[in-house]
């Protein structure tokens, strides 16, 4: 039993890194995702297409590949062009990749949220003399956020799990801690079970909170 506890505790050493990488990435993802969503819905054709291509490229490739390109590919390319570029810390490309990856998924979530707000809301806001931007900010986006909050939290849960690929680009997060201990102790089963439990204590409470919120919201809807 002690060996399982050890495996779990070692995996837990990666929790702070996993959490803060995920948190920074989801903040980037939400902010950048909103920009992508607004570009996607924009009447400006070039902006619309750039956003579409961006979403297709990110969703069409595995995050591990994106991480390898950003962490190792980009420095090699720049170096071959004669620059001395090197990431000061590999956690930087890791966060960039997670944030940009999440932005593509978030933009779709945000877009569906904005479209789910009744069209009369925009008309009512405009009829009070609000500009389109002001109506978005004061009327549409606050309502869209309520609609997308569960999907947003689900994206956060997904992101926490996805950060497990970052071990391959030099970030020592939960999985990497387990792997390192495994290679020195050969306690393979306890090591990876410990890793699994460490992820679960992050993701399962979050999922429960989301479910609770969704139940509360659907009750509210039913009460209307």
């Amino acid at each position: 039993m002690a060996v399982y506890l050890k495996g779990f505790l070692i995996a837990c050493q990666g929790i702070p890194t996993t959490i803060w990488v995920s948190l920074v990435a989801i903040v980037i993802g939400a902010g950048f995702g909103l920009v992508v969503a607004l570009c996607n819905q924009s009447a400006n054709k070039p902006l619309h297409y750039i956003a579409k291509v961006y979403v297709d490229v990110v969703r069409g490739t595995p995050m591990l590949v994106q991480a390898l390109v950003m962490a190792y590919g980009v420095p090699q390319l720049l170096q071959s062009m004669g620059s001395g570029f090197k990431w000061p810390d590999l956690v930087i490309p890791a966060i960039i990749v997670c944030g940009c990856n999440s932005a593509a998924y978030m933009s779709e979530v945000i877009r569906s949220g904005i479209q789910a707000v009744d069209k009369g809301q925009m008309e009512a806001a405009r009829s009070l003399g609000m500009s389109k931007g002001m109506a978005m900010k004061l009327i549409i986006i606050p309502q869209a956020i309520r609609i997308i909050l569960p999907a947003f939290c689900n994206e956060f849960v997904t992101l926490i799990k996805e950060t497990s690929v970052l071990g391959y680009v030099g970030v020592v997060e939960i999985l990497r801690h387990g792997q390192l201990w495994n290679s020195s102790s050969f306690e393979t089963f306890p090591a990876y079970i410990g890793v699994a439990i460490a992820y679960m204590i992050l993701t399962i409470p979050l999922s429960k909170i989301i479910n609770g919120y969704e139940r509360k919201m659907s009750k509210k809807e039913a009460a209307r």
């Binding site: 009369g120 809301q121 008309e123 009512a124 405009r126 009829s127 009070l128 003399g129 609000m130 309502q143």
Partner: protein
């Protein structure tokens, strides 16, 4: 000069021409009721007046000023609108529904905006609902809040797009009463309605629309009481039971 002038207004959706040339003036203090069958272009006309639908052709003036894409936000502050489906902001309290426009669009201070909002709520008989959320109100109450929201901007004219059509029958009266009171106070109003009793009692002028044209217009006692055009007669014989 009329307060609102509509000149040669046409509107098409794709190949479908909904408005085929509308000319109409509305004077200050006048109540204009627009009646007609579904699909006759009544709602499209009223929505074109504040450019919620962009006219395909023609011009609309408010106080002699041509309405364009550039000045529309400013124009709309003087032109309130009440919708069939209320369109209150569900994430805002009743009070905030009334203050959000004045505070953000006109830069009115919060305290002043709230004072005015309370006055308006009293006027529509909903003083006790200031802190409720729209979902807790009946349809009739929501529509009265929507009227108060339009009034909060101090508009020169209010456009009503079938304000009672989405209401349960027993709530129509309370909304019409508020509108009657407004009309008596001299508010300029353009009302798309199926309430012939209201039109007859309150309107200064009634226009009957069909097929994208104004078929008949005049005083309510003439248009509703003694219509001359066969299409008007036919329509009224169906709605006046």
């Amino acid at each position: 000069m009329s307060m609102i002038e509509v000149k040669g207004l046409k509107k098409s959706f794709g190949d479908l021409e909904v408005l085929k040339g509308i000319d109409q003036d509305v004077e200050k203090g006048e109540v204009l009721c627009i009646i007609g069958p579904s699909g006759s272009g009544k709602s499209t006309m009223i929505r074109c007046i504040n450019h919620l639908e962009k006219p395909t052709a023609g011009e609309i003036y408010l106080d002699g000023e041509l309405i364009t894409e550039e000045n529309i936000d400013k124009i709309r502050t003087k032109m309130g609108m009440v919708f069939q489906s209320f369109n209150l902001f569900p994430h805002k309290s009743v009070l905030e529904n009334l203050t959000i426009g004045p505070m953000n669009v006109k830069g009115v201070k919060q305290e002043e905006a709230e004072k005015k909002a309370h006055k308006l709520l009293k006027r529509v008989g909903l003083s006790d609902k200031a802190n409720e959320f729209p979902r807790n109100l009946s349809g009739g109450q929501q529509q009265r809040v929507a009227i108060a929201r339009a009034l909060a901007m101090d508009p020169e004219v209010i456009l009503f797009d079938e304000p009672t059509s989405a209401l349960d029958p027993e709530m129509v009266g309370e909304v019409l009463d508020v509108m009657k009171a407004l009309a008596n106070e001299g508010m300029t109003m353009i009302v798309v309605t199926h309430e012939m009793g209201f039109a007859k009692e309150v309107a200064d002028k009634v226009i009957f629309m069909d097929g994208g044209y104004i078929v008949e217009e005049g005083a309510p006692k003439d248009v509703i009481g003694n219509p001359q055009q066969p299409r008007t007669q036919d329509f009224l014989s169906k709605v006046l039971v």
